[in-house]
Amino acid sequence: MRKNSPLALCFHALFVIFMLAPLLIVCVVAFTPEGYLSLPTRGPSLRWFKAIFDYPEFIRAFRDSLWLAALSSTVAIMLAVPAALAIARHRFPGREALTTLFMSPLMVPHVVLGIAFLRFFTQIGLSGTFLGLVLSHIIVVLPFALRLVLAASYGIDQRIEHAAISLGAGHATVFRRVTLPLILPGVVSGWLLAAINSFDEVTMTVFIASPATVTLPVRMFLYIQDNIDPLIAAVSACLIALTAGLLIALDRLFGLDRLFVGTGKG
């Protein structure tokens, strides 16, 4: 492999700094002892982290967000696996149209989706419910789940399944013992991406969430409309630490490059 020239190294360094700087700044600001957003010049303080516990709304919103992300991404992946296998294996009329339909939430602006869901849920009596929130998130995160499972499904040599059938395995056994393990990297990464996107979604959720069902990003958004203080930086720092921890754990378990680049080999 060729060594990078000093100029290229400089460019890469700047690029990485540009990507990481906002995250770093937020984390540093979270440790300020002051009452306003500033760098902690008088030494670090945990004042604003302690302050989070004075706002039970944040804790509750965090818990709701986790539930929402877990539920919607799990349902989305359960829909994505059979859909992806059908699309990857079979040629049937409307196959292209179906794929596009499943991917369409990516193309519709979330503001539009938010307004549409608000109207729709009011119509069918789901407005302001947690169920409504889960349903709308399933639709928004489905493309992420489908895309990654689809990529994994295309990579399967169908003769491996034929071999299992010839050895006496029925449909259910083939799926459980052969197909699912083979697409597992796609399933796990699809689920993860779906969960992250659900947890992160604010543009659409802000329209659907009611005071009883506020997700963490929406809660944060509402909070900074009224107050600008380092509390929000402390919450952000906690989220960054949590996400980093989760990714490190997944990397140890599966190997992240395998999940997202998807070589398909175990």
């Binding site: 040599d157 034929h162 071999a163 059938i165 010839s166 050895l167 006496g168 080999k265 175990g266």
Partner: protein, 347 residues
């Protein structure tokens, strides 16, 4: 009653016919190859026997029972694919034991039979290895063991050696033959490699465009090709144009020889290059002019022009003088070395 009988087997994809009117009887313990160019229907035939492609017409009888209505997971056949198709997330032992597990065989017997199968294919000590950490040849052995451990009624091999390099392929061929002989499993091999088919099979089924061209032992099919297609597909051959006199004799120029079944008018004879010999001085034969001469170690390969058409001939490197380029020589061949090709069977 033959072990496996294919009766008028046929398959179409839309208006395209993949296999048509295939009749074949295979005896117990026999090794039969389906040989032909790609798209000849040999793989489709194997897939129909395995049950992965539905049968449109005809019957597949195994020991007298019709297989067509039996789902593929109940047929109890062993299959080895060109791509090995091993389970990448399972170890060698788990791969081999899979079929036994599906049959509900208890753990202790599973282990014994898995170890036996591994010994049979020469993979002792590989039990805990994952397929991705093995060479192509080793993976193919695992696939073979996995197919054989269930004691299948039939062993189906779909181009099993095509992914291996030439030297390994030859080794595996003789080993495969030896394993098949020792356990006596009736075997159907699909291949496009004529050498593989000839080296391994008791009988060859030569297929072209969905139809059987010829069925027979390798030397019989090679020596007496039934059609120009068989003659040209199986090894190198010469198709010589001659004239029949209507009374069972064919003449090429001044060279005349008796050929049973030859009609009057133009006929075509298939003669292998190694069966064309230089005529002794004064003996009858037909004249050819050598156009090129290539040395290939054990033999010389010559091309020549003649009144019967262009031809190739082979001279063993036995110390005798070899005709030079541009030289005119007289060739002859024995009537028994010529196969009469069906009339109108254009090349």
């Amino acid at each position: 009653m033959s072990h496996l009988v294919l009766e008028g087997l046929g398959k179409s994809y839309g208006s395209a016919v993949a296999v048509e009117g295939l009749d074949l009887s295979v005896e117990r313990g026999e090794f039969v190859s389906l040989l032909g160019p790609s798209g000849c229907g040999k793989t489709t035939t194997l897939q129909m026997i395995a049950g992965f492609v539905p049968v449109d017409r005809g019957r597949i009888l195994l020991d007298g029972g019709d297989l067509v209505a039996v789902p593929p997971n109940k047929r109890g056949l062993g299959i080895v694919f060109q791509s090995y198709a091993l389970f990448p997330h399972m170890t060698v032992a788990q791969n081999i034991a899979f079929g036994l597990e599906m049959r509900g065989i208890d753990k202790a017997e599973r282990e014994t039979r898995t170890l036996e199968a591994m010994a049979l294919v020469g993979l002792k000590g590989f039990a805990d290895r994952y397929p991705r950490r093995m060479s192509g040849g080793q993976q193919q052995r695992v696939a073979l063991a996995r197919a054989l451990v269930i004691k299948p009624a039939l062993l189906l091999l779909d181009e099993p050696l095509s992914n291996l390099d030439a030297k390994l392929r030859e080794e595996m061929q003789s080993e495969l033959r030896q394993i098949q002989r020792s356990i006596g499993t009736t075997t159907i091999l699909v291949t496009h490699d004529q050498h593989e088919a000839m080296a391994l099979s008791d009988r060859i089924v030569l297929m072209n465009q969905g139809r059987v061209e010829q069925i027979g032992a390798p030397d019989a099919v090679y020596g007496k090709p039934a059609s120009a297609f068989v003659a040209s597909f199986l090894g190198k051959t010469n198709v010589l144009r001659g004239t029949g006199d209507g009374s069972g004799a064919v003449s090429i120029g001044a060279f005349s020889l008796p050929i049973a079944g030859a009609g009057a008018g133009p006929v075509q004879l298939a003669v292998r290059p190694e069966r064309l010999s230089l005529a002794a001085a004064g003996a009858s034969g037909f004249e050819v002019r050598v156009t090129s001469r290539v040395f290939q170690g054990a033999h010389w390969l010559l091309t020549a022009d003649s009144a019967a058409g262009p031809l190739i001939l082979m001279r063993h490197n036995d110390g005798q003088p070899v005709p030079a380029e541009g030289e005119t020589v007289t060739l002859s061949f024995a009537p028994s070395d010529a196969a009469l090709l069906a009339p109108g069977d254009a090349r």
